[in-house]
């Protein structure tokens, strides 16, 4: 999306240039690498507020923190067995050092226990919406930090202007834009606003220079007409949301939207693609980390091997210690220099691991777990798809059955007609041989025995047909079509 103040197609020359310094106006949308470049160090991002996350679908009552009433965020369990968000319980304990539920005394932080992993898992799997205004990304909660912290264009980051302490959406935080918090006057309605609010203002609240949309007749901001046509107008040509996944549907937007709402088959595929991309990213990330760790640990192991002989010798013969010491200090100085940096980096990363081998094993285990997760998700997708297939085939089956029953009915009708014909033939023949009344014809006045035989025959035929048509009670008379 272009920066907020980018005028779009259909702009008539502004009546007066904006008074405040105009930020440069690149028109091309941001590419991925540009976004990546923009991701500043973590501290410059407004921290993700778990309380304002919107959850999709109902959340189990047991996963709600009793203090903030939202699903737990970094939960901890007190010795009395109650669970709260770490932030919530810490705040509560500042006032009173007792459990808010049963008033058992709690020794802050020392008494906390970790939560069973299964609960963490449940929390990770909650579906959430990205809390950033303007972003409609949905994902599992465990992936939200990643989206919010690294990818979302709308995450509030520190204003690029060092003197400004405000935050601004990541896509607008560019050095060449300068500070977008300065005020200017809207050239259409003369309202005073900041550059940051500009987008919102033009889209929703400005009632300045409007234009009529040729397609739908709606009044829109003149310079937003292009955006209206390409994104909102119900009458303009549009493509299916999932065209990237292969959907060929293209029509007036309202038709396409109907198509999207009534369930586009390519939605599943598109989700699959997204999922794969996310998984691949995760795998890349992990592989990168693994490689770095491998490098670090191998560098770490080498010096240790070199140092061991010194230690041994100094332990075994205590007397030559002095003799060796000069050599040893020299060597250890050397080794320490190239050994200190990776090992300290390693300790910073994860101090809790006894040895790099353990850490590597844990990493492998994690990757394995993640792969397992991916496999499971693929299987889920598969099941989803076959269910869809089953549903469509069921419909076709139904139609087939209906056709079958119609054929049965037709069959019966033909039989009945043929019987009629046969009957009239016989009657004609008997009439001609016995010289009876010549016009017995198809009338039902014929002798009763023949009629009975006919009706019993149709009855049998009918039953054969009714097995498919499943209608009943009409065996005596051939049904009408």
């Amino acid at each position: 999306m272009p920066p907020p103040n980018t005028p779009e197609g259909g702009v008539t020359a502004p009546t007066s240039p904006p008074a405040s310094p105009t930020p440069s106006q690149p028109t091309s949308p941001l590419t991925r690498s540009e976004i990546a470049e923009l991701s500043l160090p973590k501290s410059s991002i407004l921290e993700l507020d778990y309380q304002s996350i919107e959850y999709i679908g109902p959340v189990d009552e047991t996963l709600l923190c009793p203090i903030c009433r939202t699903p737990f965020h970094s939960p901890i369990t007190t010795p009395c067995g109650h669970t709260f968000c770490a932030g919530c319980i810490n705040r509560a304990l500042e006032l009173q050092s007792v459990c808010p539920i049963d008033r058992q005394p709690i020794n802050k932080t020392r008494d906390y226990c970790r939560l069973p992993l299964i609960v963490k898992d449940q929390l990770d799997r909650l579906k959430v919406k990205c809390p950033n205004k303007g972003c409609d990304h949905e994902c599992l909660r465990e992936h939200l930090e990643g989206h919010y912290g690294r990818r979302c264009e709308f995450t509030p980051v520190r204003c690029p202007e060092s003197s400004c302490t405000k935050y601004i959406a990541r896509r607008d935080a560019k050095a060449e834009n300068g500070c977008l918090h300065q005020e200017f006057t809207c050239r259409f309605c003369e309202k005073v606003l900041t550059w940051e609010e500009c987008d919102d203002h033009y889209d929703y609240s400005c009632n300045g220079a409007t234009a009529r949309c040729e397609e739908c007749g709606k009044q829109v901001m003149r310079h937003r007409l292009g955006k209206h046509l390409s994104q909102d107008c119900p009458e303009a040509e549009a493509r299916c949301k999932w065209h990237a996944a292969g959907c060929k549907v293209a029509d007036k937007r309202r038709v396409v939207q109907e198509h999207e709402h009534s369930g586009c088959t390519f939605e599943v595929i598109s989700r699959l693609i997204d999922q794969r991309a996310e998984d691949r990213e995760m795998i890349n990330d992990l592989t990168g980390r693994l490689a770095r760790l491998e490098a670090a640990s191998s560098r770490r192991r080498r010096p240790r091997e070199r140092r061991e002989p010194h230690n041994e010798s100094s332990l075994i013969n205590g007397s030559p210690l002095n003799l060796l010491s000069t050599e040893a200090t020299g060597a250890s100085n050397l080794t320490r220099n190239d050994d200190m940096s990776p090992s300290s980096g390693f300790a910073d990363d994860d101090g809790a691991w006894a040895s790099p081998e353990d850490y590597m094993l844990a990493q492998f285990e994690r990757i394995e777990g993640q792969l397992e997760g991916i496999r499971k998700k693929m299987m889920e997708m598969d099941a989803h798809q076959s269910l869809g297939l089953l549903q469509t085939t069921a419909r076709v089956n139904e139609q087939l059955a209906e056709l079958g029953s119609k054929v049965g009915v037709l069959n019966m009708h033909t039989t009945w007609l043929m019987n009629m014909q046969r009957q009239s033939h016989t009657q004609q023949r008997t009439a001609s041989t016995s010289t009876g009344p010549p016009s017995a014809g198809i009338s039902h006045a014929g002798d009763t025995s023949t009629t009975r035989a006919v009706s019993s025959e149709t009855g049998v035929r009918y039953q054969a047909g009714s097995r498919r048509s499943s209608s009943d009670g009409r065996g005596e008379h051939p049904p009408r079509l």
Binding site: D49, Q51, C68, R69, A92, E94, L95
Partner: protein
Amino acid sequence: MSTQFAAKRLSKELSKISSSLPPGIELVSADNFEEWLLDIRVLDNNPLYQNQTYRLKFRFGSSYPIEPPEVVFVKLPDRPIPMHPHIYSNGIICLDLLGQQGWSPVQNVESVCMSLQSMLTGNSKNERPPGDEEFVRGNRLRPKDIEFYYHDNDV
């Protein structure tokens, strides 16, 4: 933690309250996250409170629910102050649940209303707290700044 904490928690409570409340409790107004009004009634046949509705005013500070809300009965032409040995005639309630010591952040507006309901239900004394007149005449303090002596724990 963010200053919005109280507002967010209250908006959660509000969405729950507006869809369902226990019998005898009714939301009158909640136009902001600072002050809410609720009506409560006593459901059994306690002759002291029969056919009466009482108006409660909740005021929330920015540290709610870590700190208790300020809860008082409000006097209106059709909303008297209920007679109770822990309720002053100016509507101030002496309930340890609402004090700094007795409050717990897991309490909420609904649970407070229910506690007050049952506090009235269980009462049979048609009287005000001792020293009510003096207290009402002299009191210029906000309820939360008053050091109550909680007479007993079963209220």
